[in-house]
């Protein structure tokens, strides 16, 4: 095997390729681990605007990189998470948020699981209630109860 750097140089020159970049680049990473952690979790919530369905944390697009750097800049300058989101939304619109905020427009979205679950429970409750009277079945009269008890006693005596 030949040493790495020479080969790499050769490859780059020969093929002239733009290779896919990564998500977070080493040079983007903040020195403060706590701040970097916040930056990562914010990144996972922001959409890469030019990708199909990726967060900027996963995307290798140039625009995603810009947004990652922007998020980190805001965090370093002392913004809270909320302020970062507000700032990004003011620039890119609600579309950038992978978890839509609760608003009139997204009320139905957020309420949907609860509503469906509620409707399901109501349907099941109705179904069960309607069955209840049948469920009990005919009860035995006192005479019948006694007859059964006698039969059982007779049986246990015999054995």
């Amino acid at each position: 095997m030949i040493g790495g750097a020479r080969i790499m140089a050769l490859l780059i020159v020969v093929m002239g390729l733009a290779s896919p970049a990564f998500a977070v680049q080493p040079n983007e990473i903040l020195d403060d681990p706590a701040l970097e952690q916040r930056a990562r979790s914010i990144s996972a919530e922001l959409r890469c605007m030019v990708c199909q369905n990726q967060s900027i944390d996963d995307s290798d697009a140039e625009l995603a990189r810009d947004l990652r750097v922007l998020v980190r800049e805001r965090l370093v300058s002392g913004d809270t998470d909320e302020q970062v989101y507000d700032y990004v939304v003011s620039r890119y619109g609600e579309f950038v948020l992978l978890r839509p905020r609760l608003s009139i427009q997204t009320l139905a979205l957020w309420a949907a699981p609860i509503l469906v679950m509620g409707a399901g429970i109501a349907a099941i409750a109705t179904f069960l209630r309607n069955r209840d009277p049948l469920q009990a079945g005919p009860t035995l009269t006192e005479g019948e109860e006694k007859a059964i008890a006698d039969l059982l006693k007779e049986r246990s005596n015999r054995s």
């Binding site: 790495g4 369905n53 619109g93 609600e94 699981p113 679950m117 049948l134």
Partner: protein, 670 residues
């Protein structure tokens, strides 16, 4: 010539499907045996014709006939043979043809194996299959003809999207379609039952093997797709809540609910209406998935609007079939008499709970997937609904469901004893909690929540074992008798327990990789090392390499643990020459159930330097990640065992066999 023959066969298949759509229904109405029998013949003939057509297209791919537009656009003469063949379904037209091939394959199976079905039911089922076949054949012939020629013939093809040139793609779509399309049989059975206005436990028993078959394939297909995305896309994600994934996940969720509710119907004649509705919903979601993926509506509402021919066609199919089925359901459902009664706390009640959660989860995924489209269409406002939304809504729905899973099989039919079930699960719960704590104890800095989440996974696993142990009478009878009883249990009991066990395994994989994954990223020059998950990777060198239709740079790594060399890994950046498209080929080293995952990034050229001196390397330690797919495979395997149960093959209820000396098997099987 062969290509034209394929096209011609497809057109004749369309004609045959039309015959299959009409005559059997008329026959069933009039009680005319010979008309009903036409359903069988035409189903088998349709299958052979579509098979011929599919073979013709495959032939065009194999010989690289670039005069066929579809081959020109998706193949390349230098491509390895396996990807030439898998390229047949690596594109819209070809995969639609595969879709139809599988559809008619299932129809032919019903015609072939459905001998024990009442004649009129079989005729109606095949007719409904005929309707679906007709609609999709028309769609392919009208808007997506895979046999179109181009003049003049190009010298070379444009190659298949390199991401799709993978063994995963060769397997994933056929599996997925076998699942997706397999649910068409449940749909056809449901519609046929509504047409006849008669439905009973025998119906549920007939549908069950088809539901199971479709479910097994869909489980396998989704797991396969997940693993493929994991190693191919280069950043080690295994589920993205991508709309395309959701499109296959929704029928799976609904299909899982259907499997469980059909159980109640089969054993107790209850939940008939609901089961019929679920059968319709499940296939409707398959159709919806096809629409979402094919119409381009997901990429953007606008691309859909600018070239709507295909999208509108599938939308029309969707509206006609779903609308028609629901209409028929509304008309006929009330006339279906429901049967068996049960208490809320009972096996039936448990299965109803299962359905409640699975249906809510399905609805959540459905609404989350469609909401941005609807909102944009109505208000023009664009929003995104991504993984954070689904994790937040879907996750909490699964926790109570998982906790309930071990209880279900321990409850008796009609009237169960929750306290009794809980007492019998003490051991499983205690062990599960202990196991969760032990794992977390040995993993420094792990959150307490992770211990609980792991314990849930263990609880589901141990619960499944408890179920089998109780059925065999472990602890109450001698070991020999218990073993014999265990061997005497119906296979469906094993299958069910195994599927639940697999679910628990999968949960553990998901929790472990989510909670304990570690990641390191660095610019590395040859000779440098990087640490992840207790392993040290030394970057040795970089080599160029030439593949059949790509060039790549391969990074060589040595894996060290405590200073000792344990393995070597290669990770590559590849460029497919025909499309000049770069891909990453991650290096993966499996250690136990865990994996070390290495991906290469950009070359780094310091300022002033002429050549790059380093490369960005990203390493992940993914603890227990393979359990996610192993769990899915166990689930699918459980389904397979259940499918092999004798009663399903026999088809109709039979009187009990002579009981064996080993002690009676009292528990009804799943």
């Amino acid at each position: 010539m062969i290509v034209e023959l394929g096209h011609y066969a497809l057109i004749i298949a369309f004609a045959t499907a039309l015959v299959q759509s009409v005559l059997p229904v008329v026959g069933a109405r009039r009680g005319d045996q010979s008309l009903m029998a036409i359903g069988d013949t035409s189903a088998i003939v349709s299958f052979l014709l579509v098979l011929l057509s599919f073979c013709a297209l495959t032939y065009a791919y194999v010989v690289s006939d670039f005069s066929v537009q579809n081959v020109y656009e998706n193949s390349h003469s230098l491509k390895p043979m396996i990807y030439k063949i898998s390229g047949v379904w690596g594109n819209h037209e070809g995969s639609m043809l595969l879709w139809i091939l599988i559809l008619v394959f299932f129809s032919a199976l019903v015609a072939f194996f459905g001998r024990n079905l009442p004649k009129s039911l079989r005729a109606n089922v095949l007719a409904v299959q005929g309707w679906i076949t007709t609609a999709f054949l028309l769609f392919v012939l009208q808007t997506s003809n895979p046999f179109a020629r181009i003049v003049p013939t190009p010298m070379e093809g444009r190659d298949l999207n390199p991401i799709l040139q993978d063994i995963g793609l060769a397997i994933h779509p056929p599996l997925l379609y076998l699942g997706y399309v397999g649910f068409s049989i449940c749909f056809s059975f449901a519609v046929a039952a509504l047409i006849e206005g008669r439905i009973d436990a025998a119906w549920a028993r007939w549908v069950r093997p088809w539901t199971l078959t479709a479910w097994i394939f869909l489980t396998g297909g989704i797991a396969m797709g997940s693993y493929w995305a994991y190693y191919e896309l280069g950043w080690g994600g295994w589920w993205f809540w991508d709309p395309v994934e959701n499109a296959s996940f929704m029928p799976w969720l609904a299909g899982t609910a259907l499997l469980h509710s059909a159980l109640v119907m089969e054993k107790r004649e209850a939940l008939k209406i609901w089961t019929i509705l679920l059968a319709i919903i499940t296939f409707s979601l398959s159709l919806l998935g096809t629409f979402l993926v094919r119409s381009g509506v997901l990429t953007s509402v606008h691309t859909f609007a600018s070239d709507p021919s295909r999208g509108v066609f599938i939308l029309a199919i969707l509206v006609v079939f779903i609308g028609g089925a629901f209409g028929l359901f509304a008309l006929r459902a009330t006339s279906l008499k429901s049967g068996g009664l049960f208490q809320p706390i009972s096996r039936e009640g448990g299965l109803v709970l299962n359905n409640l959660f699975l249906t809510t989860a399905t609805a959540t995924v459905l609404i989350g997937t469609l909401y941005p489209l609807l909102l944009e269409t109505v208000t023009g406002e664009k929003i995104s609904v991504g993984p954070p939304f689904f994790n937040l809504t879907f996750g909490p729905l699964m926790i109570p469901l998982l906790l309930a899973v071990p209880f279900g099989p321990l409850l008796a039919w009609k009237r169960g004893d929750l306290l009794g079930a809980a007492q019998r699960l003490y051991v499983a719960a205690g062990l599960a909690l202990l196991a969760g704590l032990i794992v977390v104890y040995f993993t420094t800095g792990a959150p307490v929540l992770a211990a609980l989440a792991l314990a849930i996974g263990f609880f589901v696993m141990f619960g499944a074992v408890t179920d089998l142990a109780l059925r065999a009478g472990v602890g109450k009878v001698s070991a020999g008798i218990a073993m014999r009883r265990l061997a005497g249990l119906p296979r469906s009991a094993f299958g069910g327990a195994m599927a639940h066990f697999g679910l628990g395994v999968m949960v553990i994989g998901i929790v472990a990789v989510t909670a304990f994954e570690t990641e390191a990223v660095a610019e590395m020059a040859p000779g440098e090392t990087i640490d992840a998950g207790g392993y040290t990777l030394r970057f040795d060198s970089m080599d160029p390499n030439q593949g059949p239709n790509y060039v790549e740079d391969v990074g060589h790594f040595t894996v060290l643990r405590n200073g000792a060399e344990i393995s070597r890994m290669d990770s590559a950046k590849r460029v497919y020459t025909a499309r000049q498209m770069p891909t990453t080929e991650a290096g993966i080293l499996t250690r136990g159930f865990s994996q070390l995952y290495v991906s290469l990034g950009d070359f780094v050229t310091p300022e002033g330097a002429e050549a790059p001196t380093a490369i960005v390397v990203r390493v992940w330690w993914k603890p227990q990640v393979t359990l996610i797919w192993i769990g899915s495979v166990i689930m699918a395997f459980g389904g397979l065992i259940s499918l092999s149960d004798r009663r399903l093959r026999v088809g109709a209820p039979k009187p009990h066999r002579q009981r064996k000396a080993g002690g009676p098997v009292m528990e009804p099987a799943e």
